[in-house]
Structures are given as C-alpha cells and as structure tokens.
C-alpha cells in the first residue's frame, strides 16, 4: 500500500508541534482544500482530518482560523460534509464541538464555525443523522442568534440563519420552531426578516419561514393574528408606492402609508422566497381568505409593475391568479391535495419556460 504523503504532515499538526511548522503545514493543507480533488485527497486520510479538527481549539488564533477555514471548504463539498460528521475526537462529536464554539462568547472566528454548521446542515440526509446533537442546544443557539452583541471577538454569527433554515427541513425542527418552550422560537426570528445589514441573515430567516409554509399543518399557526407574519413578509416587497385609501386600509397597520424612503428588498432570491411562501399559504381556503383580507393582492399587483426578473414575475402571477379568483372558482379546499396528471405537469412546465423566455 502506497504511503500517503499526508502522513508525514501529521506530526507537524500535533498540538505540541512547533508553531511555525504547524503554520506551514496548515497553510499547505488549506491551499489543498481549495479544489475538489484536494478535498478528496484530504478526506482519504482520517488522521489528518482528526488533527485539523483538534487544531480548531489551538492556543494560537491564526492556527484556529486556518483550521476552521479548511473545514469550511471541506464541508462545502457534499462528501466532505457527510464524512466530517462521523468524527468524534473526544467524548463530544464534531457537531457538539462546533456548537460549543458558537456558544463561546470569546471564540474568535466563530463566523467560520457558523459557516461550517450551515454547510453541514445543507444536506437533508445529514440533518436527520445529526439532529440529536442539535436538539438539546436549539434554544441556546436561538438566544445567541438574536443577541446581536453575543460574540465579543467580532463575529456576527449571521450564518446561523441559513443553518436554521436548513434545519427546518426536518419535521422535528419545525415542531420546535412553532411550540411554546417557554416562548415560540419563530416569534424571535420574525423581526429579522427586515434586518437590512445582512442578506445572509435575512435570507436564512425567510428561508426558514418558507420551509415552514410547505407544511400545511402549520398554516393556521403562521397566519395567526399574534404572529403578524404578513407584516414581515410583505414589507420587503413594498416600496413607497401609493395605494387608494380603500386598498390602504386593508393592509396590515404597520405597512400603511409607508414613508417616501421605503425601498423593496434588492435581493432577487429573497423576493422569490417570499412569493413562494405566499404561494404555499394559498393552499388552503382559510389561508387564501386571510391573504385576500390583508390586501396581499394589491401588494403583488404593485410589485408586478416594478419587478424585472422573469422568474419572480411568473411566481408573482401564480399567486395573483389564485387570489384574484372567488372561492367557488378556485374549486378546491386544499390545493396540495389536487392530483395533477403527468402530461399536464409537462405542459405547465413548458408554458412557464415560454413565459420566462418571452419576458427576458
């Protein structure tokens, strides 16, 4: 069996190795992790990965940082992510170690840790596997997330948002998000839908809501009065456009008579996710009625006039089409239960493509 050249490195990566040697070795490996092939090479050597994980807790900040960045690259790769979670350097597994870093107020480069967690959770099969490691720490992670000044070493921890979004693919997480324990986690996340300083954070929170909306059993909860979901969801879609008084009165109070400076969210993906969420909320009759009562149609109408992206225009029209109809025209209590024959699906897809191309 050919000796793995990386084996030689291992001695330089030991915690007690000389600092400058550690640096050089780690730098080299970091460079290696920049390519897909490089990652595959790394993954073949268990001991290397183990050493790197241990180096994330090194006394020297620079070593920490490089080790973490290396892991960010590795976990961005799908195989990398599945491999990493198998490691259990001490009595804690890798996930628990990383969560521990996030909860450590003094941890430098905690942002990299958040990126790692976000990468790992991106794959649904992995989420289910490591869910048990996450569950006990969910409330703590949420508290850390909403506390904007939590990390004292300059990390903003914004990447926790996409992590939550990824986690919400799991039914257990969705249950946690929507139950009082002692408060409802989603309530704490909602205000961040409008957090202007970070697209990542906004996107993650809105993504979480979008995932929730795919599960019809949470629609009643999502559209309940105290949540004021529509206030947060519609705001990024609204600028300073004028509505006639009777339309204005139907909008949620916080969205009425917005000031001149108000602008729509500049990020295309975010706008798309919001409209997809609205689309999902139209599945049931109750949802449709609530959306109509809150003037969602008017907002989408104005948005359609302003929007340039063809995909979003299509998504917008889809929702408008549903809302514009009267209930008897819609024809189904719960649209998710309607069966669509395969040939129709193909036909619809083709129509969509044509529309998108025509708008471009």
């Amino acid at each position: 069996m050919a000796k793995d050249p990386l084996d030689e490195m291992i001695q330089f990566l030991k915690p007690q190795a000389r600092i400058d040697l550690k640096h050089i070795a780690l730098d080299h490996l970091l460079g290696l992790s920049g390519t897909e092939d490089g990652i595959n090479v790394l993954l073949k050597n268990e001991k290397i990965i183990q050493s790197i994980i241990e180096l994330t807790n090194d006394k020297v900040d620079e070593i920490n940082k490089n080790a973490l960045l290396l892991l960010v690259n590795v976990t961005a790769n799908t195989t990398g992510a599945s491999e990493i979670i198998k490691y259990k350097p001490s009595y804690k597994n890798v996930i628990e170690i990383f969560i521990g870093y996030v909860l450590d107020q003094q941890k430098k480069d905690a942002d990299a840790v958040c990126m790692i967690l976000s990468n790992i959770t991106r794959q649904e099969n992995i989420v289910e596997e490591c869910l048990d490691s996450f569950m006990p720490h969910l409330n703590d992670l949420l508290n850390v997330f909403v506390n904007l000044d939590y990390n004292k070493k300059g990390s903003k921890l914004h990447y926790l948002a996409p992590m939550f979004s990824n986690l919400s693919c799991s039914p257990r997480i969705r249950k946690w998000l929507t139950e009082e324990n002692p408060y409802v986690p989603l309530l704490k996340l909602l205000p961040f839908c409008n957090y202007e300083q970070s697209v990542i954070l906004r996107g993650g929170v809105i993504g979480t809501i979008r995932n929730l909306s795919f599960d019809t059993k949470y629609h009643d909860f999502l559209l309940s009065n105290d949540l004021e979901l529509l206030t947060y969801l519609l705001s990024p879609l609204m600028g300073n456009e004028d509505y006639p008084d009777d339309e204005m009165d139907k909008l949620p109070i916080a969205l009425q008579y917005l000031p001149k400076e108000k602008q729509r969210d500049a990020d295309v993906d975010i706008r798309k996710m919001i409209i997809e969420t609205l689309n999902q909320l139209c599945a049931q009759r109750k949802g449709r009625e609530i959306l109509r009562d809150n003037g969602v149609y008017y907002v989408l109408r104005e948005n359609h006039k302003w929007e340039k992206d063809p995909n979003i225009l299509l998504a917008c029209e889809n929702v408008v089409d549903i809302l514009i109809q009267k209930e008897d025209e819609v024809g189904a209590e719960d649209l998710t239960t309607v069966e669509i024959p395969e040939d129709m699906t193909e036909k619809f897809q083709k129509m969509d493509e044509e529309y998108i191309n025509s708008v471009k």
């Binding site: 109070i253 916080a254 009425q256 008579y257 917005l258 000031p259 001149k260």
Partner: protein, 384 residues
C-alpha cells in the same frame, strides 16, 4: 429655779380605743358631708344627647364640622399634630400621609392631593414613606383623570422604590391613557420580568397595537401634509410659469399662497387652484353704474372671458337690459392706476398676462360699462 417636768406620759392606745376613735371620725365626716348643700352634677354630657356631644368633641370627632369651624381645643390639637417643632420630619410626613389617605378613602381626591403634597414637601429621609406619598398622590391623580400627573408621580415613586410594582402598574396604565405608548410598553416589560401577570400582558399588547396605529396615523398625516405642500408648490410654479404679475410681490420668490388669498368676505374657498393642469381663477365683475358686483369662482384660464359674462347677463338689477355681451366694454385697472380695455373674446389666461395687468387679492377684477355711455366716459375721465 423650779423644775416642774410634766411627766404626763400618755399611755399607748389599745386596739379597742383605736377602733372607737375611727368610728367617731367616720361619723363626724358623714355629718359634715350631709350638712353640705345638695347640688346636681350638670357639667357632664346630657344623658339623652351624649352621642351628639361626643361627636363634637375634638378628641372624639369622626369628621370635620360642616361649617368648618374648629373649636379652639380642636385647632390646638390639629396644630400639635402638624407642628414642625413638635414633630420629626418622618412623623410629619406620616401625618400628612394619613390625612391624605383619609380623604382618599372618602373619595375627596383633591383634598387628598393637598395632604400628600404637604407630606412630600417635608422631604423626610425615609424612602418608603416618600415612595408611598408619591404613589398615593399618583392614585389620586388617576381618579381625577390627570393621567400625565399620575404618570409623573408614579415614576417619582419608582425612583424611591424601584420594586414598587403597584406604582409601576399605575405608571403603565397612566402612560397608556396619556398615549405615551413607548413608556407604557417599557413599564409593562419590566413588570413582566418579575411576574407573569395576565392583565399586564393584555395592557402590553393593547399598547403595542395602539402604538402601531399612532405611527400609522402619523405617517398618514405626513403624507397628506407632503401632498398638500407639493400641490401648493405646483400651483405657485404654474403661476410663475404663466408670467402673471401678482401685487405686493417684488419677484418670483415673493409669491406665496397668502398673497393669492381672495380678500372678499366669504370668498376664502375660491382661491385659485389647478384642475388637470388648468388654472381656475376667481373673477370679480364690477358695475360702477349700479354699484353692483358679481363674484364667480373657478373660471378656467383657457376659456374666453366672454363665457363668464354670458353666465351673468342678463343681470337682475339690469331692468333696461343695457348690459349685454356685445354692448359692454370690459376694463381692468392696471398697476399704472389707469383703466385698460380688454377683448372679452380672449382667454382669461391671456388677459391675465396683459401688459399692465396686476392680480390683486388673488382675484381678477374687471369693470363692466356700457359701450359709449356717459358712465363709461366718466369712469375713464376720473382716472386721468
């Protein structure tokens, strides 16, 4: 010298003799008392009215007598209670507090205010007493619906005792009534830190909702104000663009809505405005012969003046039918103080920019005289 010592030594009394002596003294006393005049005791309260009398006595009175007059004894007692020389500040403060509480219980809130205020003025050192005084005064203000004062006093109480939840609750409620929703929300949240109270949660939600409505109303007002200003600016801009000369305006920057305000009584809502890009002016027709006038609102600038004349002719005061569209001359008084004739077939807007035309009182004024008449000649001559 003769020594005669009397050794009249008395023998000690025996018990029998002592007893006999006591009896004799008792009898003598009885005889004496019986010999005194018999008089009835009249100084006390009469038996049938003793409760009434008791109520009047300052020691026992339960309320101030209706005429407000206190007997000297009562006054003296009162003075004693409130005398700063007889009492320590703490005692004084407590006395005033009791006084306030007494009135409060009887729903005399204004009197209660006075009592508490005096207690506060004492400025005793005890934080609890001061907190109590302010809290109670806040309560009195609350029932008098002085919500701002109730809020101020509640918060003052909290400076002496930050854990005084009753005061904080009152502060929250007063803030709500005074429409200071942020303050209310703040107090509610502090209250909920120590105890999860359903009523406080309700108040918090009510305040949040009211705050949202208040903010919405402010935005709405801001918008309509902005629109009004925009319209005003648009109007002024349009008038400037037309090049109409406005009286009392030295240059374009001088023009504002006040100078365009019609000065005639009852004409306030006739001020010039824009409709679909067309200026609509108020017009005044003057008929010197008959000392009559016609005031017409909203005349479009792009319509000939003669249309307006057609509206008013034949006039009710014109019995002879002398004033018809085709036999009158129309004049305006220019800024040179001279009359100038206009062609009524011209559009109003064009007439307004005539060489000597100056708009006074935001109204276009025209003098109407029968063509070739004596009146007309007189009118022209008196200007020269």
């Amino acid at each position: 010298m003769s020594d005669k010592t009397e050794t009249n030594k008395k023998a000690p009394m025996t018990d029998v003799e002592r007893l006999a002596l006591c009896q004799k003294l008792d009898e003598e006393l009885d005889d004496f008392i019986n010999s005194l005049e018999k008089k009835r005791y009249t100084d006390g309260w009469p038996e049938d009215r003793w409760e009434e009398e008791m109520d009047k006595h300052p020691f026992f009175m339960k309320s101030v007598p209706k005429d407000g007059e206190l007997s000297p004894l009562a006054e003296g007692l009162a003075k004693l209670k409130y005398d700063p020389e007889e009492n320590t500040p703490l005692e004084l403060a407590n006395s005033y507090k009791e006084d306030g509480n007494f009135n409060f219980k009887h729903k005399n809130y204004r009197l209660a205010l006075l009592g508490y205020t005096e207690g506060i003025k004492v400025r005793c050192d005890d934080a609890d007493v001061n907190a109590s005084l302010y809290n109670n005064r806040a309560a009195a203000h609350w029932y008098l619906k002085n919500y701002r004062s109730a809020l101020l006093d509640s918060e003052k109480a909290l400076t002496f005792d930050p854990k005084h939840n009753k005061a904080r609750t009152r502060a929250a409620n007063s803030a709500f009534e005074a429409k200071k929703y942020d303050t209310c929300i703040d107090h509610c949240q502090k209250l909920l830190e120590s105890k999860n109270d359903k009523e406080v949660v309700e108040l918090l939600n009510k305040a949040k909702k009211s705050k949202m409505v208040q903010e919405r109303d402010e935005r709405k007002k801001g918008r309509s104000d902005a629109k009004r200003n925009e319209d005003k600016d648009e109007l002024i801009k349009t008038i400037i663009k037309r090049g109409i000369k406005i009286s009392k305006c030295d240059d374009e920057d001088d023009i504002d809505l006040s100078k365009l305000e019609p000065t005639l009584p009852g004409a306030h809502d006739a001020i010039v405005h824009i409709e679909d890009g067309v200026l609509m002016w108020p017009i005044l027709f003057l008929y010197p012969e008959h000392q009559m006038t016609d005031f017409i609102k909203g005349c479009p600038e792009n319509v000939p003046l003669i249309r307006q004349l057609q509206q008013v002719f034949p006039a009710p005061w014109d019995a002879e039918g002398k004033y018809m569209c085709n036999n009158v001359n129309v004049y305006y008084e220019g800024y040179d103080k001279m009359p100038h004739i206009v062609d009524p077939n011209e559009n109003l807007g064009d007439i307004l920019v005539s060489k000597y035309f100056e708009l006074k009182g935001g109204t276009a004024a025209f003098f109407i005289l029968p063509r070739g008449s004596v009146i007309e000649r007189n009118y022209i001559e008196c200007h020269i």
